[in-house]
């Protein structure tokens, strides 16, 4: 029992943190590009991402299921019902959230520091360094928000992960199963544990952030 819960906790952490990193890998460059666009359509694009934050997780799960199912276009990859597909799903799920939050940060930093640094005689590389130093801690916080959203979602993990014991069972799907079994005590205990895990990750991260 304890090894199983330990496994669930570790698996949840790994899957969701990987998903967050993956989502950052495309969200950061994309947002940088977005900030540098000088066109009216920029606001519309940002608006679309704002709206996509509310996308139901089961819908993301279902779309991914149709794509990665054996009879779907990417079925040959055989990723369905593995932890990898949950990572992909969660990273897609949190991308709109990351882009929306990062956009505000990057945009403000860009407007405040970029021109200023250049007029004060910095070269582009130095200006970049300055901006990175200014925003790095905010980006850090955004990553944590993304992580919390990823580890707390149910729909994607349930539909494409399948809640397979010892393989794709994560906190949220385990809780759903315990509710289905009528074992409310276990479900609530798991829920508390999930909260403690998220809280400790975030508190640790904030301490590190302060040091940096």
């Amino acid at each position: 029992m304890y090894t199983e819960i330990y496994g669930i906790a570790l698996r949840s952490l790994l899957i969701s943190s990987t998903a967050t990193l993956l989502a950052l890998a495309w969200s950061i460059p994309f947002t940088v590009k977005l900030v540098s666009i000088r066109h009216e359509s920029k606001e519309a694009i940002v608006g679309v991402f704002n709206a996509l934050i509310g996308l139901p997780t089961v819908l993301v799960g279902l779309v991914l299921y149709s794509i990665f199912s054996c009879s779907g276009p990417l079925g040959f990859l055989e990723l369905l019902y593995t932890p990898y597909i949950i990572i992909i799903g969660e990273s897609i799920l949190i991308t709109p959230l990351l882009i929306s939050l990062l956009y505000e940060i990057f945009n403000r930093a860009y407007n405040e520091y970029w021109e200023l640094a250049l007029t004060l005689g910095a070269d582009k590389f130095q200006a970049c360094k300055l901006i990175i130093r200014e925003i790095i801690s905010d980006v850090f916080v955004v990553s944590l928000i993304g992580f919390s959203r990823a580890i707390g979602e149910l729909g994607v993990a349930l539909i494409v992960g399948g809640n397979i014991k010892g393989y794709t069972r994560v906190f949220t799907t385990a809780i759903a199963l315990e509710v289905e079994k009528g074992e409310f005590g276990t479900a609530i205990a798991l829920g508390l544990l999930l909260f403690i895990v998220i809280l400790s990750v975030i508190l640790t991260a904030r301490v590190i952030k302060r040091r940096v």
Binding site: L14, T18, G162, K165, V179
Partner: protein
Amino acid sequence: MKKFLMISIILVAITAITTIIYVSLFGRETLRVLKVSTTTSLYVTGLLEKLSEEFRKEYPDVVIQFIAVGTGRALEIASRGDVDMVFVHAPSLEHKYIKRGILVDGRIIAYNYFVIVGPKDDPAGIKGLNSPVKALKRIYNAGVSGMTLFISRGDNSGTHIRELTLWRKAGLNPIGQKWYIESGTGMSKTLMIANERKAYTLSDIGTYLKLKGEGILGRLEVLVDKGEGLINIYSAYIVNPDKYKVDYELAKLFLEFVSSKKGQKIIDEYGVRLFGRPLFYPAYGKENELKELWRVLSEG
């Protein structure tokens, strides 16, 4: 700006790759994996995990992965070739998938009964009736006159399909009426709703006993458990290997194990220790009888 981009991408990519490698250590790619989609009742009661545990004593290099969903979805997943095997309990639906050539090697593995449960004070007066159809007629009348509610699964599961069949046999159509509530969730949540709202519902006996044992269905009791149309037949199928990429050999091994004397004994004894009575009855020795009942049910 370019350098900033490069650095961020490289950093993130390196971390992502190492973590993916780390996660893959948890993977079980080296073992033979059998993927099974199953109706929730067999999984939630713990029976399938028990069978898999015993099976793995004989075949330790096999991992059986259960995906527990309603019967409707379990079959849909099978028809896309995403699993090797299914465990389901809706003959009329199974029949369609067999005809489409999706399922092969069908075997009845267990049975139990559906029961109509409801509030203890039984406003529709169905307690002790020996016909579910008669009971539904009374619930219908009580519902129309505003005395009670009925909670339907409404999720295309085996239980939902049976409920609809019984309404049809009663010559009634409650869908859309105020007292007929479609929960759209699994059996457990539907039972909890029925408990809260003091309503009637159709349940498989296994899930009901499991939840009753947890002490959360205080207001409900079994009111009708006898009569034609309440038998609940669980079957296992292998997904057609000619059509999909299926580990037929392994699926066959598990199927044989479940229907073997040993597997059937596990089914027979399961639940007695926990609930004082079996949750499922083995099909062993009653195959022909059950096949006939299955045939009748499959015609809807």
